[in-house]
Symmetry: C2
Subunit: 247 residues, 2 copies
């Protein structure tokens, strides 16, 4: 059985298998060693994520259903962009107060640790927000003329996410900070002020690969599923040694 | 548990999660309904595929390992491009005689039918070959100055694949024929005379989606994993009805 990595998050996770997406890049990178499993739920905040987490990650052995399978080697938890919607703007129904956001993240992490004690959990903060981009690409009717998300609010939630990771002793990708280190991040990495374009996806991919490496999960350490073509003896492709080693 | 679709094949499957690949496009298309699981093995022919098929698809219940999980809703079987290497050219160690190719495909299909009687198996023929492209992009040293694959040979194997599908009563994507219906298919769909570029990947994606639809697997028929954001009542996101329906 190949090891699995689950990607749990909101729309930035759900759309991560689109062309050049960070999810498909992970699946491609680990094409012979890991199954990358998509569990992205557009629009969800941590309140809803916590409500459904047991459904998303069912117990390992459910008779007849195949169950949830073996423990994954890693889970990325990538929420906060929706929690950080402002409570008095057009997407207010997605807003979650920051203290509840922190508690919800704690609860999600502890659910996962409880379910799979050996699994690496990696938090990812919400990305920075380009407020002009949000005004140009509203998801719902916006009569106020004010963005439903601000970069300042996203930053506060990102900071909260980093602090939860610190308290839990788990890795975190601080995407909010990372992206803003680059000039023109507003247009260089975001396509509508919130969601990632291909360059933005590339950053998430590289950051996640980096964190996975830090916890010992990389192409160098993970077993390859079946022999590479280069290892097959062209003169005797099915020879005993090959079979004994691999089958 | 989400249903699964396995992609079983050679390098054209293994690299299908690269940017714009047909595998990642499937995963994106079914992002809330199906897990698309990659089982591509570069360079493999049906002889090696048949040797390892039990390892690729382990029995459903292996105590302790999580087993192979529930039966997938579909498996794509996409081999032949390596079998069709000519027996007297530089990639001859990958060559499999056409009668053996047919028998191996039969055996792979019957293994899968035996393992999972309800699973839809979809065969995909090898793509056409652009011989000029192969001479420009050799995978191994080619001192003969002749391509290791020809379009004519690929066509014979494609025909054999179509005939196996007919005899087994299962769907087949005749990629060899389909691609050649378009002008300039040699450069329009192939990047090295054999492997697919993004446009070629798009054809495979669309053909597979079409075959899946024919056997009743589509966005319209497959259940969505958890409620879409549009179905959540903004005034009462966690109301009883929502919970009762979904959790």
């Amino acid at each position: 059985m190949r090891p699995k990595i689950y990607l749990f998050g909101d729309s930035i996770t759900e759309e991560s298998f689109d062309d050049g997406g960070w999810g498909s890049s992970l699946a491609h990178h680990f094409s012979r060693s890991v199954d990358v499993v998509l569990r992205g739920y557009s629009g969800y905040n941590t309140r809803w994520a916590l409500k459904v987490v047991e459904k998303v990650f069912p117990p390992e052995t459910e008779e007849g259903s195949g169950g949830g399978g073996a423990a994954p080697v890693a889970v990325t938890v990538f929420f906060g962009a929706n929690d950080a919607c402002l409570p008095d703007r057009c997407s207010k129904f997605q807003h979650v107060p920051i203290d509840e956001y922190k508690n919800n993240l704690f609860s999600i992490v502890s659910f996962l640790k409880n379910r799979w004690p050996g699994t690496n959990i990696i938090l990812i903060t919400p990305p920075p927000i380009d407020e002009d981009g949000r005004l140009l690409h509203p998801f719902v009717e916006n009569t106020l003329g004010l963005p439903e998300r601000t970069n300042e609010a996203a930053g506060a939630y990102a900071k909260a996410c980093v602090s939860v990771a610190g308290e839990c002793g788990i890795p975190v990708v601080d995407l909010w900070t990372k992206m803003q280190q680059f000039p023109d991040w507003q247009k260089a990495y975001l396509r509508d002020g919130l969601h990632l374009n291909q360059s933005g996806n590339k950053i998430v991919f590289e950051e996640v690969i980096g964190k996975l490496k830090e916890v010992g999960l990389s192409l160098e350490t993970l077993p390859i599923d079946l022999p590479l073509i280069a290892e097959i003896d062209p003169n005797d492709p099915l020879k005993e040694k090959y079979l004994a080693n691999w089958i």
